[in-house]
């Protein structure tokens, strides 16, 4: 415990935790709203889900830009090679999914004939025309990608638990503000 912890900077932490929070809102909302009978509540939930999704898209683009312009704090020197590899692949896939999932949702919405209007104020362009088959295809893609996201987020959290309680290293602390870790 002698070496000081090298942390992500405030921007990276803010983006990470904000996106995490929004995923934990949008994902269950998406699962729940899907089978609701048509009602004003359903229309509201769909809109909230889309607004959150587009917000995630923007934040993740910001995160990718951050990642390109900064070097993240190093992993402990003791980290086995396979863990380094798996960790890189997982993070890359998470970034990819967090861009592909909102994009597929936005396109699906357009294909189903509903323009996405961010927070009910900012209309996003319809990048595809209304098309029933395309709408259904994109719905399947959106769902399938979310299954992957669910698994990867599960892996991500499992890895945190492993590092915290089994390896007892300070991987998690890199992403926690100073006051929050011992």
């Amino acid at each position: 415990m002698s070496t000081p912890i090298q942390r992500y900077n405030n921007t990276a932490m803010a983006l990470h935790w904000l996106v995490a929070l929004l995923i934990f809102a949008a994902f269950p909302l998406g699962v729940y709203m899907h089978d609701l009978p048509l009602s004003p509540t359903k229309l509201q939930y769909y809109s909230y889900h889309k607004w959150i999704g587009i917000t995630i898209l923007l934040l993740v683009i910001a995160r990718v830009l951050w990642r390109f312009t900064h070097t993240p704090p190093p992993l402990p020197a003791s980290t086995p090679r396979w863990e380094v590899l798996v960790s890189h692949i997982t993070h890359l896939a998470l970034y990819g999914l967090l861009i592909a999932i909102p994009l597929s949702g936005w396109l699906m919405s357009s294909a189903k004939g509903f323009q996405t209007v961010w927070f009910g104020v900012l209309p996003l362009p319809d990048l595809v025309e209304k098309n029933k088959e395309l709408g259904e295809l994109l719905a399947t893609v959106h769902q399938g990608l979310n299954v992957f996201l669910f698994l990867l987020v599960g892996m991500h959290i499992a890895a945190v638990i492993k590092h915290k309680f089994i390896d007892r290293d300070q991987i998690l602390e890199r992403m926690l503000p100073k006051g929050m870790s011992k």
């Binding site: 048509l38 229309l43 809109s47 509903f114 323009q115 209007v117």
Partner: protein, 190 residues
């Protein structure tokens, strides 16, 4: 090519001069449209009615005799999504079982200058009749003519969307109704 175009233009010009003397009565249903626009959670939506009938009698020179009647088959509605199509036929919305059609009957037409006019009339939806005013343009080209207009109604005035649907922050109260009616001149009696 050029001379042919000239002949066509000349022909159109000739027809144009006689157009105002014709009374337009034959509605071309498959060229006419009745569409509507509304906002849902701030998102602009468009829909249409596939089936309607219209009877009009219009001569710009005899406005006092102008008449129009449009009957819309409400079950032919296309709101833009299948889920909503079923919903709007149900009781809280149009209740098409009890009220299969909506109708507009004109009570008068006045000119607004040029090819712009205004139709006053009674709009009946779901058993409720209210006065509406619909500005429109009239364009005649030979034996063909068209009415184009748009007017707004408030859906709650007609109890369209009852119960939870009275919430106008999800589905807006204002509905824009747009019509494009194509007519041909009444055929000459033989």
């Amino acid at each position: 090519m050029k001379s042919r175009l000239r002949i066509v233009l000349l022909g159109l010009a000739l027809i144009g001069t006689t157009a105002t003397a014709v009374e337009f009565k034959q509605v071309q249903a498959n060229e006419s449209t009745v569409t509507f626009g509304y906002k849902q959670m701030g998102v602009p939506m468009e829909g249409k009615f596939a089936k309607f009938t219209a009877q009009t009698s219009f001569d710009p020179a005899k406005l006092s005799k102008a008449q129009a009647r449009i009957d819309i088959d409400l079950a032919s509605i296309d709101t833009g999504s299948e889920e909503a199509n079923d919903e709007v036929k149900a009781k809280p919305w149009f209740n098409t079982q009890a009220f299969p059609s909506a109708g507009f009957v004109s009570t008068g037409v006045k000119t607004l200058g040029g090819n712009k006019y205004e139709a006053m009339g009674k709009l009946t939806i779901k058993g409720k009749t209210l006065d509406v005013v619909a500005p429109f343009t009239f364009q005649a080209n030979g034996t063909r003519a068209s009415f184009d207009g748009v007017f707004a109604i408030k859906r709650l005035d007609y109890n369209i969307g009852e119960g939870v649907w009275t919430d106008v922050s999800t589905v807006a109260n204002e509905i824009q109704i747009k019509f494009h009616i194509v007519l041909t001149a009444a055929p000459n009696k033989k």
